[in-house]
């Protein structure tokens, strides 16, 4: 039997869930196809198909759709509305399947199951997997079970991003002060940080400049602690994680400075950035916002990073 080829564009939630999704589809007897890593051409494709004010990650995502759409049977673009009771995804994620359909004239079938814990509670996974099961003609219970197995909510997701963070922490978290290297906490949305093209290979550049870049996916306790410090629960799923990571880094003495990587004109980040700067940075640690758009260049990022590192070196000496 020929496998159904399911396309998963490498963008946005891919960086949080790709591995679970891939295993999930493999379990259901399908082949999951990822688009390659972002390149200038992919981004150009995305820009060509979108309205100009959209944010960089969404444009990139649509670029991935453009190069993936002709080689797959189905496109998997889930509609994540809420991952838990207290939070929402950004509106652009909620409208992502519809936006994708609007941007391209000839698409394969878009599989856009709804993930909405706020509405369905414990039934969210069943609701999410039912249309998938229908499209792949497997039984709903089998799909739901497979999903539960591979997607134990997000606490245990062995996603690419998570793994990368863990590795970074293992490498760098324990670095003693005396090694002379400074530790820089890097916060931001996974789809920006871990897309090497969009983040201009930030981690690599920082390491080349003699610093230890550290990133972190906060766990539930860390999120609760951070939310207790600010006046209101941050209701954007990813914004909340960025705020919590910032909180951890500001408290941790081993971290010498924090860089917040965000895409220009990101709605939630325009607010959380303000919260982080004013509410969380009590010790006045060196902090920089690096905002990235389609005009960002390797050299620009490198220059700012150099300046930031020089500044920390001068402060700590």
């Amino acid at each position: 039997m020929k496998h159904i080829r399911i396309g998963i564009p490498r963008g946005l939630l891919f960086y949080s869930y790709a591995e679970s999704w891939t295993r999930f589809f493999r379990d259901l007897g399908c082949e999951a196809i990822h688009s390659p890593e972002t390149t200038a051409d992919i981004l150009k494709e995305g820009i060509r198909h979108t309205v100009s004010d959209l944010c960089l990650p969404v444009k990139t995502f649509l670029g991935h759709v453009a190069i993936l759409k002709d080689s797959v049977d189905l496109l998997f673009i889930p509609r994540h509305v809420s991952m838990e009771q207290e939070s929402y995804m950004c509106p652009k994620m909620i409208g992502l399947p519809d936006m994708t359909r609007a941007c391209f004239a000839n698409l394969p079938v878009v599989l856009d199951p709804l993930f909405h814990v706020k509405q369905f509670g414990d039934k969210a996974i069943d609701e999410f997997t039912r249309p998938v099961a229908e499209a792949l003609s497997v039984s709903p219970s089998r799909a739901a079970d497979a999903y539960r197995k591979h997607m134990n909510h997000h606490a245990e997701v062995p996603s690419e991003q998570h793994r990368q963070s863990e590795r970074l922490l293992a490498e760098n978290g324990a670095v003693p002060r005396s090694s002379g290297k400074m530790n820089i906490g890097i916060i931001g949305r996974p789809y920006l940080l871990f897309d090497r093209y969009l983040s201009k290979n930030l981690f690599h550049v920082a390491r080349k400049l003699g610093a230890n870049p550290v990133s972190l996916r906060p766990d539930e306790t860390e999120i609760r602690e951070a939310m207790a410090v600010i006046p209101k629960w941050v209701y954007w799923e990813m914004g909340k994680e960025v705020v919590a990571a910032a909180h951890v880094f500001f408290k941790d003495d081993r971290i010498d400075g924090v860089i917040n990587v965000c895409s220009a004109a990101c709605g939630p980040d325009s607010f959380t950035g303000d919260l982080i700067r004013k509410r969380l940075n009590r010790q006045n640690k060196p902090y920089m916002t690096l905002s990235i758009d389609e005009h960002a260049s390797d050299v620009g990022v490198q220059t700012r990073l150099e300046a930031f590192i020089d500044m920390i070196a001068r402060v700590t000496v």
Binding site: V51, P91, G95, D98, A102, W236, P268, S270, F271, D274
Partner: protein, 363 residues
């Protein structure tokens, strides 16, 4: 306690007088000016949206005028509006202002609204609370009704500014109508006033549906008075978003008016299958509705970086292609220039007129 609430279209006219009569010391912010906007922009995060900046400017000016309490509706996403109050409070405290801040985090729940009213006023009885709240809602509906009459008469007026004068008068009359009977007596009078405006009866104006983010649509200061400008170009505005509809969808004070959000959701199916927050679903659904009804084109306006409307804008540009239907999206922020807006509007209106006269439009 001198209470202030940031402006949103004509909303403050609906509640200020009524609440004052019940012992609330209201201090509405002065009407927004360039100074308001500059103050807001100066202290806001760079990429915050325009309503946030104007609201912040409102707050600063009201506090400078002696207000010492701010009421700001909140909520829980996904649009940024629910988080406005938190960030604004933080900015104002940093500027050294001292005030009490209350945010109603469930502005959709009737009981919470009534509690808020009882909290700030002399009203202690629950039923009086309901009575006052519904009077405010009815006053808002009356203001919207007057505005829709304005949309009809403005392009047809023979003497420039006649309609504007009447609208101003109508708003004043609704403001003074502080009880249900007075309000009901006022509406026929207002209609009579509009009917008395000398108009060009032969004129068959081009119609433009105005849709988008609600604050920018209903606040003339934010959209550079776009509805008036359209009227002056002899265009009849069909506005698709009304504050009274938004309120009615939640509080059902006009039982015979259908729930507009639910309606839009039905209309939008196939293009936007799930509301992406804000007015995205209304924008998509009503673009389709306007097209079906033969409205000549849609003008979609939103603040720069508005997340829900960017989703909508992407989708309605597809609708425009699919159905050969003119749609113009415009973003507004502090850098918008009058010349830019007028030029684009004129070009759009020219296009609509030519299409209509050449019979290109399918209707």
């Amino acid at each position: 306690m001198r209470l202030t609430v940031p402006h949103m279209g004509l909303l403050s006219t609906a509640y200020t007088r009524v609440l004052r009569q019940h012992g609330v010391d209201m201090q509405p912010p002065p009407a927004a000016t360039v100074r308001t906007l500059n103050l807001g922009v100066k202290h806001s995060p760079e990429f915050a949206c325009l309503p946030f900046k104007i609201n912040l400017g409102n707050m600063i000016e009201a506090l400078d005028n002696g207000a010492d309490a701010i009421l700001m509706p909140g909520g829980y996403g996904p649009c940024r509006f629910g988080y406005y109050g938190i960030i604004q409070e933080q900015i104002l405290r940093e500027l050294g202002y001292r005030f009490r801040m209350s945010t109603t985090d469930n502005p959709d729940r009737l009981a919470d609204m009534i509690d808020t009213i009882r909290d700030i006023s002399h009203i202690k009885n629950k039923y009086d609370g309901y009575s006052v709240f519904f009077l405010i809602l009815m006053r808002m509906a009356a203001l919207d009704r007057a505005t829709s009459l304005y949309h009809y008469y403005k392009p047809r007026e023979l003497n420039r500014e006649d309609t504007d004068t009447v609208l101003k008068q109508a708003v004043r009359m609704i403001d003074l109508a502080d009880s249900y009977p007075r309000l009901f007596r006022t509406m026929p009078e207002i209609k009579k006033m509009f009917r008395a405006i000398p108009i060009d009866k032969a004129l068959n104006p081009v119609t433009v549906g105005v849709l988008g983010e609600i604050f920018v649509v209903i606040e003339p200061f934010a959209n550079l008075d776009i509805e008036k400008r359209l009227g002056e170009m002899r265009v009849e505005v069909r506005r698709g978003v009304w504050l009274s509809d938004w309120l009615n969808d939640r509080f059902r004070f006009r039982p015979f008016r259908r729930n507009q959000t639910a309606y839009a959701k039905k209309l939008a199916r196939g293009y936007l299958d799930y509301p992406a927050g804000g007015e995205s679903i209304e924008t998509v659904g009503k673009t389709l509705l306007f097209q079906k009804k033969g409205v000549n084109g849609v003008l979609h306006i939103m603040p720069f970086t508005c997340m829900p409307e960017l989703v909508a804008s992407t989708i309605i540009s597809r609708i425009s292609k699919d159905r050969d239907y003119p749609v113009l999206s415009m973003t507004f922020d502090e850098h918008v220039s009058e010349a830019n807006i007028i030029t684009r509007l004129e070009a759009f209106v020219d296009l609509l007129e030519r299409r209509r006269d050449d019979g290109i439009s399918r209707h």
